[in-house]
Structures are given as C-alpha cells and as structure tokens.
Symmetry: C2
Subunit: 412 residues, 2 copies
Amino acid sequence: MAEQLKGALILGQSGGPTSVINASAYGIIRAGLEADCITKVYGAHYGILGVLHDDLMIMDEEPGEEIERLPYTPASALGSCRYKLKDPKVDDTDCKKILETFKKYNVRYFVYNGGNDSMDTCNKISKYMREVGYDCRIMGVPKTIDNDLFGTDHCPGYGSAAKYIATSIMEVARDTMVYESGVVSIVECMGRHAGWLTAAAALANSEEPCVDLIYLPERDFDMDRFLNDVAKCYEEKGDCIVCVSEGIHYADGRFVSEAETSATDGFGHAQLGGLAAKLADVVHKKLNVKTRAIEFSLLQRCAAHLASRTDIQEAILAGRTAVQAMIAGETDKMVGFVCDRSNGYTCKTELFDLASVANYEKKMPLEWINEAGNGVFYDFVEYVRPLIQGETSVDMRSGIPRFARLKRVRAR
Amino acid sequence: MAEQLKGALILGQSGGPTSVINASAYGIIRAGLEADCITKVYGAHYGILGVLHDDLMIMDEEPGEEIERLPYTPASALGSCRYKLKDPKVDDTDCKKILETFKKYNVRYFVYNGGNDSMDTCNKISKYMREVGYDCRIMGVPKTIDNDLFGTDHCPGYGSAAKYIATSIMEVARDTMVYESGVVSIVECMGRHAGWLTAAAALANSEEPCVDLIYLPERDFDMDRFLNDVAKCYEEKGDCIVCVSEGIHYADGRFVSEAETSATDGFGHAQLGGLAAKLADVVHKKLNVKTRAIEFSLLQRCAAHLASRTDIQEAILAGRTAVQAMIAGETDKMVGFVCDRSNGYTCKTELFDLASVANYEKKMPLEWINEAGNGVFYDFVEYVRPLIQGETSVDMRSGIPRFARLKRVRAR
C-alpha cells in the first residue's frame, strides 16, 4: 500500500469533445468527492489552460443533481482546449506555472481526460513534477471518438459515435431508397488518419443491407477504382450507399478532400463543402447519376441522445479507476481497457504507461479491411458491436434533453 | 349513414419521407384490415406510380409483428414518388390507368399520404372517378416535415423533425462552445419556402441558451444586416449560433444559396456544399472569425430514433381517421388537425376539402417572426412545443434499431 497522499485533485478535459467525456468526468468527480485523502475536487476551465491561468472551478460546490446529469451530457462541461504543452526540457514556463497552481491549491492528484496529445501532456507534467520533487500523482483517462489510442482495447467516446453512425446510416439508407429512381449517396464520417468511425457503418449491415462501400484512410484511395466500384454497385442494385472517412488519401499522401479542390477549380478558389460533396460531384459528372452528399459532422461526436449505455458506463469506470489507482499510489499511467469477446463481452481496466501511449495513433488493423479496400470484415463488426449496446438515460424534459448545468464556482 | 361500399383499399405514400409517414400507413392498414367492408388492403409501390403500373403489394399478407413496427420505422416503407398526375381535363391517360387498376382489384377506397401535390393528386382522381361514375372514396392524409399544408393546425412529420432540430441544436451548441476561442456556427435546416422547421430551433432556447439568430424564408434576407447581427452577437458573447432555412432569399427573390454561388466564383463553376457552407465562408472572410457549417440534411426527416411520440400517435390517428371517414361515406377530403392549446393541449381530427388544400403552401405567420427578421417569438414556441412531446418506442436490437421489414407480396 502506497503512502497516503493528502491534497486536492484537478480534473481537465482536453481535445474534441465526445458524447461521454462528461461521464468520465462524473467518475473522476464522484471518486474524488468520496475519497478521504482528496480534500477538494477542482475542474480546470478549458483543460490545461485552466491550470496555467489559475482558472479552476470547485466541483464540491456543484449541486449533486447536476453532477448526476453529467454522464448524459455531451461535450466538455468544464471547457476544453487543444493546447500542446511546452516541453519543459526546452521551455519550462508552462510546467512552472502548473507547479505554481498545484502548490497554491495543494494539488496532489491530476487527471487529464483526452487523446494522444493529452497523454503527452500528462507525461510531461509527471516527469517535471518528479524532477522538481513535487509529490503528486498524474493519471490519463482516454477519450476520443477516433478510437486511435494505443494499448487500450478501445476508447470511451468511440462506442457512442459508432452507435450514432450505424443508426443514422440505417435511417439515411431507408430515406434514400424510397424512390424508384436510384441515387448514389456519399456519407462522410470523421477520422483524419484512422478509419474506426467510418468502419462502424458496417454495424448497420448486420441488421439490414445498408452500406455498399466503405473507404478508410488505412488504404490508399484510387478515384478510378472508386468510380468502378460505385458504377458496378449502382448497376446491380440501382442504388449505392458509400461511407468515406474524411481522411482518405491517394497513394502519394494527398488528402482526397484537398486534392479534389484544385481538380475541380483551377482558379485557386477554395471549394466549399466537404469530401462527401466533392465525391458526389465527381460521381455525378463521371457516371451521370443522381447523387447525394451527407456529412455527419459534429453530430457524430455530440449526439448524446443516442449515446451507448456501455460507453457511458465504461467512461465512468475509466474515470473512477483513475482516481482509485492514484490513491493506491499509481502515477504516470493511462487507464485503458482489456476486453474479452470470446464468451460474451467483458471489459476490465488496466494501467498503461503514459510514454507508450503519448503521440501514437492506432489505426484499423489491415486484416479487418477487405482486399479491394472498399469494405470491412465481420471480425471488425464483432469487435465493435459490444461497444454500442444499451441506451442512454438522458432526462427528456418537455420533449428535449435536460443536460447538466454547472454553476462553475471559481476557486480563489 | 352512408351506403356500405364493399371493396379493396389502396394506400399510397408520396413525396419526401418523414419519420412518421409509416405511422400513418400503420393507422390506415390497421383500420383497413379491421373493417368488414374493406376486402383487401393494398400498398401502392412507389406511390401513385404503383397504381399506374399495376404494382401493388398485399398488406394482408404482411406479418403482424412487422406491421406493428411501422410506426417506428422511418422513410416510406411502400416506396414513394414525386409524380405530378396529368390533369384529366388535358390528358386522361393517367386517370384511365388508375381506373383500370381500381376496377381490376375492385378498389373502392384510396388513401394518399403526402403533401400539397398529393392532395392535388387525390383531388384529380376524386373528380375523375365521379365523372366516369366509378363509385369510390378518396381521402388525403397529410405528411410533411415542412408543415406547410393549409387548414390543418400542423402536419404529421413536422413534430418529429422539430424535435430532432431542437435536440440536435442543443447538442451542437454544447459542442461548439467547449473552447475558449469563439466560433460562429451556421446550421442549415430544410424548408425551401416555409420556415417552420428552422424556427423549431427556438425550442432549444426554452431549455438553455442555444440559438442566437434565426433566419426564415418568410422574411427577405439581407447580407449586410446578417453580418451585422453576427458581428454584434459574437462581440457580446464570444460565440454565435445561427440557424438558417435553406430557402432564405434576397428581396429580389434570388435564393441566397444560389446567389452566393456566382458571387464567390465568377467563372461559372458550381460551388459545392450548401447554404451553411456558403454563409460560413462569407462570415469568415468578412468578419475574420472561425466558422463552422452544419447541414442537418436528411437526418432531420428520417431520424426515427428521435421521433416524437405525439407525432407518431397523431400520424396513426390521421391514417385511421381517413379510413373510418371513408367507410362513413366521406370522400374528396383531407384529414387535418384542430388543436386547442388554451388549457394543456388537445388535438382532434377534422376533414378539409381537398381542393382548398391542394397546391397551397402555408407559411409561418409573420407575427411570430421578430421585426429584425432574425428570431421568432415565444408564441411560436408555445405552438410547436406540444408537437415534440414524448419518445418513440423503436425496438433497439443489439444496439441499433430494428425497423419493419415488409415482405412486399405483389398482387396479381
């Protein structure tokens, strides 16, 4: 048993929000409030910026019923940031400021909830504090709809986004197929470098035929092959539904979204609209068929009304585990999941070294993507299916969600 | 009591689908199957085209459990069309074909579920059948997310779309406001001529501040005034969320979406992407702020997972009422709603003359739109709120919806 460390805890939320990032916050806050050795629970306003700027919110002063709503509230309730912490070996201004804030509030526990960059932030702070001899414990909690964090089986936030994508693609497929005349629908999902999100569209097919073609950034994109795929599908079925990752790119590395800009407009005007609109335009011009472009946009990461209960519960678990592990003496780690799908589904937490997680992107295994690069295998569907199970318990008040409203009492 | 008319019933679905068009189909089918005088219930494949092409599906042969799923299944389960029936006074080919199909299957009841055009179709068929002396009864059932049908208090389909828009805008607002640095978000809703859908975003504000500016087609759009509105809001709040109808237009009638195309690209290249992307581009260039464009696209009309229970129930009621009214001897009418909001909310059906409904678009009353043309009044919110109440009962199977699957047994 580690020596008991008495002091305050700071929780920060970082990077793009998800439907369940506040569920992790809930787990962290509740565990913090319950622990005797944790004297106060602070929320950093706008992630690490709140620590740098001495802008903290006292979670102890939030009404319990609002805290209870956090697991069902989308987006970062404490505010977020995309700040890359200065490497203390080069410039220790940031870390010095953090130390100042830690000392001012006697902070001994710090949890950062985010993606790769956030794990890097944790790692830098952890090293710095050890070097300057400030006794504290640092823990990362994963969060990303992109599901691209190393080590962990999956990331909180991904399951809800996957559920949104699968459900929405089913609804869109039904909608686009009502007319006798066919249409090619191009649906764009997030994912700059990893195809996990877009691949989740395949879940829909396990219920009814929906998605015909799926293109991920893990495989080079070829426009001619794509047009052939679409033409063939449209000829056979009279319809075609395509899902593409925003990050698909040609063999030479150029993003299709950017490359197509100059291809369709040689006058240097930025073409508006995303990848889906661009591909739809190419298909329309080359194949002379009706097309439709749909971008799931922010909805895929903030549609809390369609969050996965499993995802919510696991996000809470990850947050709670982070605090418990720190109390038990752990530091410089990220909470991750180890899952077993051999007989139902079990999910356990495990601690991963921050250094191994930071700044590394985990992509879809190539063996889950078909040879033609236009679909995913059932193995992937079996991987993702447990993560989308169950519904949220968001409180629908007068027909629309009643999300958590924090008072945001500032620490002084 | 009208003379009992024994024969078959045909149900057709027309125009763009909604989340609850199949709920009306459910009401029609169930009432048809229950009625002694209705010998058979047929579904027209692809709306009136199915009647023209003798392409009918026998509803009596569908499994009961699939019929029970219809109220929670989005998009037109029987297929839809956008076919404008030939005026029999000019060319009676269409009506002759319809009469042929009616005679072949001894059809004495016809229900068409759609918008303005569909009511026109009903009206033409009704007149034609009376002229040729074919005894049958014709009834229209309203359906449109646009809510632009004359006479009825509101249209089935609108409530669910309004609920989707209000909920999604709340989630998007939370998502876009997580960072310290502000952003102007432009959200585009459907509505070419009427602003009912976009206005529904105001519902979100009754729960928490979400939408700052709302622009509807009922008022002429002025780009300078718009930029001023946005600049002022952004300065005061550091953020700005704008909802626009796709059909907003300048005083001279030009759609902003189309006008901005040539404005930003003088070389005749069609600009890709919708109105939101174009406005976001203008705001970014003129005000030099970060912008984000979001188009709710098809989701607002097909997101059955977020349908309004009230809307579902009223859609069923409208369908059922249509059949019961025909059995009672009514014909050449549309089922509509008369609602009372003075003490809670009550909704009763009433029959409206098809001729008065056909081809007329009901817009938002101007007294519900503010003087500046950038917001709606609370009276409108009180109008729409009852329509979004309650949740769907869609069967979530393994994490995603299990929608109705019809066998589609063809009549011969």
